[in-house]
Symmetry: C2
Subunit: 213 residues, 2 copies
């Protein structure tokens, strides 16, 4: 009963969950943990977290304890029964759709208004970004296989999560590499002589070009 859910955002629940996971934490620790865990699928700026925990405290979904370090005040948060209830209630609702924001694809779409080299550089930047992500994934993999990760007891769900994330990074990496290879084979961005390969790419997409309607 009650579930007093005012206007909470998904970020609110992300915070509620992370605090519950950590038990008790300062906002800084919370921020670090969120950055380390959520950055690739729910990225948020630090300052937002400071604002949000405050709000969740007022709503009674987090317990805020003031202490201080030196003569500087700070706040430490922990979960409340109401907070746990709210989180559990949210978890029963369907997730909003996943959205991608991929400027690199915008560059591909608009490539004909720039140069071939612009496109190549954009794709190389993307490849580098994917590579970084793969390194992070590799570190996670190592920490779980070696058993050095905190939250080893969560390994069964974290496996699902990393399964997605690593395959996702790998997809971006591979896509950017084969795209670079394609573009390298071009002299410019005009359509001339590029139809055949394009049709081949479409044909090989892992999908049925099945009945409309």
């Amino acid at each position: 009963m009650s579930t007093p859910d005012q206007k909470l955002t998904s970020t609110s629940y992300a915070i509620l969950g992370m605090v519950q996971m950590l038990g008790t934490c300062t906002t800084y620790e919370l921020g670090k943990a969120m950055q380390g865990s959520f950055d690739y699928f729910w990225p948020r700026a630090r300052s937002l977290i400071y604002a949000e925990v405050k709000r969740l405290g007022v709503l009674g979904l987090l317990e805020a304890r003031k202490d201080s370090v030196g003569k500087r005040p700070r706040t430490t948060y922990s979960s409340t029964p109401a907070g746990k209830e709210a989180l559990a209630a949210w978890l029963t609702t369907p997730p909003r759709t996943f959205t991608l924001e991929f400027e690199g694809l915008l560059r591909v779409y608009l490539a004909p208004f720039g140069t071939r080299d612009d496109l190549l550089q954009a794709l190389q930047t993307v490849a580098g970004q994917a590579d970084t992500m793969l390194h992070v994934g590799a570190a996670f993999k190592r920490s779980y296989l070696e058993g050095t990760s905190p939250f080893m007891d969560q390994i069964h769900v974290r496996a699902l999560l990393n399964d997605f994330l690593v395959n996702y990074a790998d997809l971006v990496r591979q896509w950017s590499e084969r795209s670079i290879a394609s573009v390298r084979g071009w002299e410019d961005l005009t359509p001339e002589g590029k139809l055949e390969a394009a049709l081949g790419t479409f044909t090989n997409l892992p999908i049925q070009d099945s009945p409309s309607g």
Copy 2:
């Protein structure tokens, strides 16, 4: 020279590019085109486009012509030399990093605070969303293979684009399906008896758990 780039966002350039692609268009047509093309990698609300073309008009990057339909006024836009220059200049800069916002993964991470069935439902929702995306991809594929797409002359770059998008949707679909299969095999969300499979998942990730360095 000049490149008077005030504070333009990536969305500004997306608009600049789409208008240049269309030649001349009403804001409504522009919005439709953007929705149809960018929705999966650069989603933006209609109303933002109305606001943005107006601004781009003031900046001289788009030409705005007022006409009317019945006694209702409307504005039609087309590209200007300055606009084309600005777009070309932007295309030389490196793209910002791709970001994902995937509430489904948040649900996976926080799953232990809810029930097994919550998690299953969330994953099924995701599978459905990926499926929808695959249908859109299939339609694109068909239109290009049949040669019925407008902008057939862009097929070489669109092939790169759809290569990513379809494989991405396919990844989400397949991931959600194998995750559902995993969770179906569980009786609850406790760690008991789930270690082996999790370790296997990590081991099989397409990545080296290579030297830290």
